[in-house]
Symmetry: C2
Subunit: 349 residues, 2 copies
């Protein structure tokens, strides 16, 4: 009968059972130290029989490594994040590290509390997707390595997508299809990534066409009155949204007012969330390699934990246009000529 429940065998007990010292037992279990082959084999055999499982807490206390990292994201309910979280979890687990998830619910206060809780609980590192561009948590970190996603905070390793290029790609696509009067609904502008997208898109539109209007929105399909108003009065033939969620909201609103998408107005999004292709019409959008970014975040963090004094790194991922059905051509030509304006289409994937 095995001791499946209750009392776990300790290293000391294992050592006694094997007739060796705790040190030898530890060495055997961890593949460390110098041990005779037969001794090692013997200890391992007994360990297996006894179903020895090291107490990770004790181990952590000695080594200062918990084998756990934290992931702090704004909102798991936003369809952009589950993919990210899942990939982080999987990647981490491949290295035997577990991940604590905290969500900040969009509040800087929650963000601070979450980080504090995690740091005090003892994590080896943190992957942080901040809600704003301010370093709200620096003083709470107490030396915990951090990699920052999506934002541009100094003093941390950074994982980003080329948001600026994304904005240009979106604008260029519309311009190439004959659109000249373009409106943009940005994401919350206190986020660096949203500003990057918006500025690049607006810059391109101004250069090649004309900016119909520009409003700031939240990351939600529920549109502020300010947005619906501008939409209703709009003469724009196309709108760029700062996120797919917003784009979906825009399309819904347009449709509810009887304007056809993309028949009368084209809409392009950002992120390529899973819903994008299920939407009616399927959403044309700018995709970023979320999974790869998640993997990069974990790997960067793990490396940082190993080598705390290596120079900080900043990894920027390429973005790409995903053409689906929410954007139409204004010109009557059947052939689509995309003026890339010096932008290289492509992706790392």
């Amino acid at each position: 009968m095995t001791n499946s429940a209750l009392k776990r065998i300790t290293l000391k007990e294992l050592a006694k059972a094997a007739g060796v010292s705790v040190a030898s037992a530890s060495y055997a279990v961890n593949g460390a130290g110098s041990l005779g082959d037969s001794t090692r084999a013997h200890i391992l055999k007994i360990a297996a029989e006894l179903e020895y499982r090291p107490n990770q807490l004790a181990k952590a206390m000695k080594t200062g490594r918990t084998g756990a990292i934290g992931l702090v994201v704004p909102d798991l309910t936003n369809p952009f994040f589950p993919n990210l979280a899942q990939t982080v979890i999987q990647t981490a687990r491949r290295s035997g590290v577990s991940v604590f998830i905290a969500n900040t619910e969009g509040s800087a206060d929650q963000e601070r509390k979450s980080v504090s809780l995690l740091v005090e609980r003892g994590i080896d590192g943190l992957i942080w997707f901040p809600i704003v561009d301010t370093d709200t948590v620096g003083p709470l970190l107490r030396g915990t390595p951090v990699v920052v996603l999506d934002r541009n905070l100094s003093g941390y390793d950074l994982i980003q997508a080329d948001y600026g290029r994304g904005g240009e790609l979106a604008a260029a696509h519309l311009i190439a299809l004959g659109h000249r009067h373009i409106g943009v609904v940005t994401g919350p502008l206190d986020a660096w990534s949203a500003r990057q997208r918006a500025n690049a898109a607006i810059g391109y539109i101004r250069a090649q066409g004309s900016l119909a209007w520009s409003v700031e929105g939240a990351f939600s399909p529920d549109l502020d009155p300010a947005i619906t108003k501008v939409l209703d009065e709009s003469r724009a033939t196309a709108v760029i949204a700062g996120a797919d969620l917003i784009a979906i909201g825009v399309i819904r609103h347009l449709q509810s007012k009887g304007v056809a998408v993309p028949g009368e107005v084209s809409v392009i999004g950002f992120d390529d969330i899973p819903w994008a292709q299920l939407n009616t019409p399927a959403l044309t959008t700018i995709e970023m390699p979320v999974e790869e970014m998640a993997v990069a975040a974990v790997e960067t963090l793990l490396r940082r934990i190993e080598k705390p004094s290596e120079p900080l790194r900043r990894v920027v991922f390429n973005v790409a246009l995903v053409e689906r059905a929410s954007v139409g051509s204004l010109s009557s030509e059947a052939t689509i000529q995309v003026d890339e304006g010096g932008i290289t289409l492509g992706r790392l994937k």
Copy 2:
């Protein structure tokens, strides 16, 4: 200057700084033991000045409580789960407990590995959403308290929705609207909850109308050939899907074949995932109170951790029909007469 970074103050250091013993310091910090009011106040003051933060690992090693629980779900990428996870995280945090998330990617093997990792890492308890009806992890638990979501495993606390009633509700709604020929695409039938839904729906259909066909599907909008085939050859005027994700897949397929929903065929889903109302047409579905179930899971687990020997509990939540736009009436009557067949519509919310 505060010691914001690096070396945390230890209890011993705090004790020395306050000129007391470690025991007194511990008592003061934890509000335990018996201590003079002034002594306590003094120690606390010094602790605040020094920004003392207890080492939770050491504490955990002594007390056997880590203040962390695990959440094991099949797939964060399935829109059903983020809400659940988020609510679990929030609820847990309110009690100061952090949550490790693991996803099983639909494999029993991963499930076992994830649970092992968590248990060995040291969690106080586990919230488990199994992928099948088998207890794949029992022997790995080593006494860790577990509450099981959505399935009907014995030996654990159970949190469920009234899936059977949900199936009846869906069928009754269709029947009441004049549908008689109804098809059903079930979820994976190795899941108890999917069977409950399917059996109840099919039973009701057989009693009040006729079952056109029934096929098993995966939790995905991508339909198996077996399903699309049956859909294409179907004479059913309505289909019940075992999950919203499936319902969306069915609608997409129907639309792609030029059949109007709900004009020619009505479709009803299950779960009321966030996207259900964003779908075109907005999805009529059976909702379950996910957030409340998540809260109940955490509370049940926390109580179980406190009192391991209390009798097991099983909490069943009510479900409700959410009428949107994917179901139409077959009769020409404008008034909808729902024959509830003894079922009480209502919800706990």
